[in-house]
């Protein structure tokens, strides 16, 4: 069926309504109850899934004069964003105490960022894209700085703001040149201009690389990654988590839209560069993570490493590679959120993010330790966890396109990453704790963790459904 404006935009409309509802409730409810708003928001996001599923049957369409695109890729990523938002909202429960004030607004901002991601997923026009990306970015600037009394949080926010705005400026400048070279900012129209194999004119290429640079910044790839460790460490844990899955996914999605969809025929002009960057990013992230002592900072470096893996999928410029990116992002979502859920639950009780504080966690909370163990293994890409299959697909894509050296770098980095992940595991399981008091985990976090665990194992063992979704998302676009 052909979607109307209402049915096509239904998820966004629902999100807008939810936003409004929250705004009203925040004003109506007393401060003490405002923490419940997060649960309301999480529950309110749940209906998005069936809506997305329903929309999946509609086929690909452009709405609003080519501003908005409804296709499977967009829906796939909206699913990812929704899931991420729900889990982050559940995680926020653990942080109620640390956030000094403005709980209601916190949830509002998360919803706003989600809204931005939705728009980014569906945007078919550079104007739309820019606004959506800025909506995401600016929301995250605020969220990162949310712990007003915490110098680190402020510093992180400042750095993110400065560097993020710089990247936005570069991105914007790039868009200008694409516009200048093609005379349009409509993606489908630009796509139609160049047939496969035709070389891109210099101005377009110039603009394209500036845009790529701006997007690589979001994706946290070398050499645009410098903000990542600092911001990850300084930001409130749920924000870091959302940043690592939501914002990063958005970056890759847009990169896919802009590079892959538009210029797949000219892959020879950009793919080698991305392959190099992928290798560098993988190495940088994984090597830099080795000496880290703070788990959030370590996750920052790890996140850089994963961005490198994902870049492989873009660089190989094949269906397999793109499928792999989709699969990887979906599995990475649950995996990474599981880690951050544990971090949040742990630091709520102990107040520490230092890795050595995790000593003996398996005795203090077997559940948290086990969840962390499984999640770290999944991050490292060990079967039967979901992370494994994602990496498998990426390496498969690389090898299939003849990027053997790149695949070797990726493979070597698996070993390095296993080293620092397993250091944490060893600390949790084999080291003696200083404090033996058990760690209590609140129900929402417990629930979220179970979801993540189920997803990690489920997607890792029964890869079929997600694989087909990932594949369909590529084919349908």
């Amino acid at each position: 069926m052909t979607p109307s404006l209402l049915t096509g935009l239904l998820p966004e409309i629902w999100l807008g309504l939810l936003f409004t509802l929250l705004l009203v409730l925040d004003l109506a409810w007393k401060e003490e109850r405002s923490t419940a708003l997060g649960m309301v928001a999480a529950a309110g996001l749940l209906p998005v899934f069936p809506v997305l599923a329903w929309q999946a049957g509609m086929g690909s369409h452009e709405l609003l004069g080519g501003m908005y695109r409804l296709d499977l890729l967009a829906l796939f990523f909206k699913g990812i964003f929704t899931a991420a938002a729900i889990l982050v909202l559940l995680m926020t429960r653990e942080l109620d105490k640390t956030i000094p004030r403005g709980h209601g607004e916190f949830y509002l901002l998360i919803l706003a960022a989600t809204f931005g991601m939705f728009l980014a997923a569906s945007s078919a026009h550079f104007v739309m894209l820019f606004v959506a990306l800025e909506l995401i970015s600016i929301t995250f600037y605020v969220l990162t700085t949310y712990l007003q009394n915490n110098v680190n949080s402020l510093e992180a926010g400042m750095k993110y703001l400065v560097l993020g705005s710089l990247a936005s400026g570069i991105l914007l400048y790039g868009i200008a040149f694409i516009y200048g070279a093609t005379g349009s900012m409509q993606l489908s129209r630009i796509q139609a201009l160049y047939s496969a194999g035709a070389p891109l004119p210099v101005p377009l290429l110039f603009g394209l690389f500036l845009v790529i640079a701006g997007l690589l910044f979001k994706a946290a790839a070398v050499p645009f990654h410098f903000w990542v460790p600092d911001v990850y460490q300084g930001a409130p844990t749920p924000v870091t988590a959302f940043l690592s899955v939501g914002s990063k996914s958005a970056g890759f999605l847009v990169m896919f839209r802009v590079i892959q969809e538009l210029f797949i025929g000219q892959a020879a002009q950009w793919a080698p560069l991305l392959a190099w960057l992928a290798a560098l990013t993988i190495l940088y992230g994984n090597l830099g993570a080795i000496p880290q002592r703070n788990i959030k900072r370590l996750m920052g470096y790890s996140s850089i490493g994963h961005a490198g893996y994902l870049l492989i999928g873009i660089a190989v410029a094949s269906r397999l590679g793109s499928t792999a990116v989709n699969f990887y992002l979906a599995s990475y979502l649950f995996t990474n959120l599981a880690v951050f859920l544990v971090i949040a639950a742990f630091s709520k009780v102990t107040g520490s993010d230092e890795i050595k504080a995790y000593a003996g966690l398996s005795k203090r909370s077997p559940f948290l330790a086990a969840a962390m163990f499984i999640a770290l293994l999944s991050l490292a890409g060990v079967p039967p966890m979901a992370g494994f299959f994602g990496k498998f697909l990426l390496l498969m894509g690389a090898v299939s396109e003849g990027y053997i050296a790149l695949a070797l770098v990726g493979a070597a980095a698996v070993v390095v990453s296993l080293y620092y992940y397993l250091q944490i595991v060893y600390t949790m399981y084999a080291d003696k704790p200083e404090d033996l008091s058990p760690i209590r985990v609140s129900l929402p976090v417990r629930l979220a963790l179970w979801v993540c665990l189920a997803a990690m194992l489920g997607l890792g063992i029964w890869q079929g459904p997600l694989l087909h979704l990932s594949l369909a998302a590529i084919s349908g676009s």
């Binding site: 929301t139 605020v142 200048g180 070279a181 101005p203």
Partner: protein, 162 residues
């Protein structure tokens, strides 16, 4: 497109003011230099038939955004920054080097730009407004949310008590 005399005069002024933004020791001078830049650009916009944009450049940008800057400068009572030569020379070097390189690239790019094809289409308020409320309705809505986020953010962050 534009009369050369106008263009060169305005650009010289604009570039000079832009340099003022990054060189002025006193923050207040820097802000005011930026206002000059905005005015210069607005002039060019008009010359390029982008009337609506030129208008809001003055009204919104210079009139609101930069005033905000001024408020903060006043509020925080900022001290003048150190002299140029006391600043980080490496940074300066990197910046200038990159700048020269970038401009070099840009020169090559500019040469390859397609010749102007379209006939001038005046960017009047009516024309822009019509587009904004039809084709660009969704970004427009998103922009409103963006502003809302900015407001919420500013309040949550900077206000001492909520």
């Amino acid at each position: 497109m534009i009369h050369p005399a106008l263009f060169y005069t305005v650009s010289a002024l604009t570039v000079a003011s832009a340099l003022g933004v990054i060189l002025a020791r006193r923050p207040i001078y820097a802000v005011l230099s930026l206002v000059l830049v905005l005015f210069g650009l607005s002039t060019l916009f008009v010359a390029l038939h982008a009337f609506f944009v030129a208008a809001i450049q003055i009204v919104v940008y210079a009139g609101a955004v930069l005033v905000l800057f001024l408020f903060v400068v006043m509020l925080l009572d900022m001290e003048p920054e150190a002299l140029l030569r006391a600043r980080n020379k490496t940074m300066m070097g990197v910046g200038i080097l990159f700048g020269l390189f970038f401009l070099g690239q840009l020169a090559a790019v500019a040469k390859a730009l397609p010749a102007a094809t379209g006939k001038p289409l005046p960017g009047t308020t009516a024309a822009i407004g019509k587009l904004l409320f039809t084709t660009y309705a969704l970004p427009f809505e998103a922009a409103s949310l963006l502003l809302l986020v900015g407001i919420i953010g500013a309040i949550v962050l900077a206000k001492k008590k909520l």
